[in-house]
């Protein structure tokens, strides 16, 4: 965005980045699982009516899940401020595998081979997309075009 190169990472920053990453994955996977468990025990089917969602929040597992997922949202924002999106996307992709695993272990979902394969494909595809160089706007030849791509470019 700014065009200025980022300074080299100091060790505390790297450690902080991985600590925040770990917190994010724990909040996200734990929150997803708690919410899925709670939602399955809410009798009313969710639709466009917002009061149904408010009512669902009264379920303690849904409430716990929402709290954890809000924390995961804030932790992810903190992570984005510490590291580039091209780092954040691939390393958080492991969350797909963790969620399917927790679905099997805690929610006793049946995971077919096809679903495992699909999840692993998604993980590897996400890593490929995420580790792509973000400098993809045609800017060679010294044409200083203002990048319209927001946070996606360096």
């Amino acid at each position: 965005m700014s065009g200025t190169p980022r300074p080299a990472r100091s060790l505390p920053t790297v450690l902080k980045t991985y600590a925040v990453l770990f917190l994010f994955l724990a909040f996200k996977a734990g929150g997803n699982t708690a919410m899925a468990w709670g939602m399955k025990h809410v009798p009313e089917k969710m639709s466009m009516d917002p009061t149904l969602y408010l009512h669902a929040f009264l379920n303690p597992f849904v409430a716990l899940g929402v709290a954890a997922l809000i924390l995961s949202l804030l932790t992810r924002m903190a992570l984005l401020s510490l590291a580039d999106l091209s780092f954040v996307l691939p390393v958080t992709a492991i969350g797909y595998v963790i969620s399917v695993f927790l679905g099997k272990m805690l929610l006793h979902e049946t995971i077919t081979h096809q679903r495992w394969l699909g999840t692993l494909l998604i993980f590897s595809g996400a890593v490929l997309v995420g580790t792509t160089s973000r400098n993809t706007t045609p800017s060679g030849g010294g044409t200083p075009s203002p990048s319209p791509s927001g946070g996606e470019t360096e």
């Binding site: 899925a36 932790t75 401020s81 969620s99 792509t132 706007t137 319209p148 927001g150 946070g151």
Partner: protein, 119 residues
């Protein structure tokens, strides 16, 4: 119905990702201490695009609630990764970025994975 919810989740997530990433880079480094969170909340309150990004998160969140009620978690979470495909398509046709072969292949692999997970 499940694919309608997946589409809502994916569009809201992509919009919110782009806005958040853009705004948080401008806000500078954040920490996760109590005081850090307070500063983070202040940043959110002061930046309009960031509020819009959070609103996108909320939409995708409610759609996700409805999805996990109807479908297994092991479908809902992987299926929402279709956002990678949409991001790549947007980057090419809206932002006019050059998409590397590697990124295109990655997005296609994600798409294949979503199809397998949904099948």
């Amino acid at each position: 119905m499940k694919w309608v919810l997946v589409v809502v989740i994916v569009f809201a997530t992509v919009a919110s990702d782009l806005l958040q990433s853009h705004e948080m880079k401008r806000a500078g480094e954040q920490s996760v201490s109590v005081r850090g969170f307070r500063r983070l909340l202040r940043e959110i309150a002061q930046r309009r695009l960031l509020i819009l990004g959070v609103a996108g998160n909320a939409v995708s969140f409610f759609a996700f609630m409805a999805l996990v009620q109807r479908e297994p978690l092991s479908f809902a979470v992987p299926a929402s990764s279709a956002s990678f495909v949409l991001e790549t398509v947007l980057a090419k046709f809206v932002l006019h970025e050059r998409i590397s072969a590697r990124r295109a292949v990655g997005a296609l692999i994600v798409l294949a994975g979503v199809v397998l997970v949904g099948g």
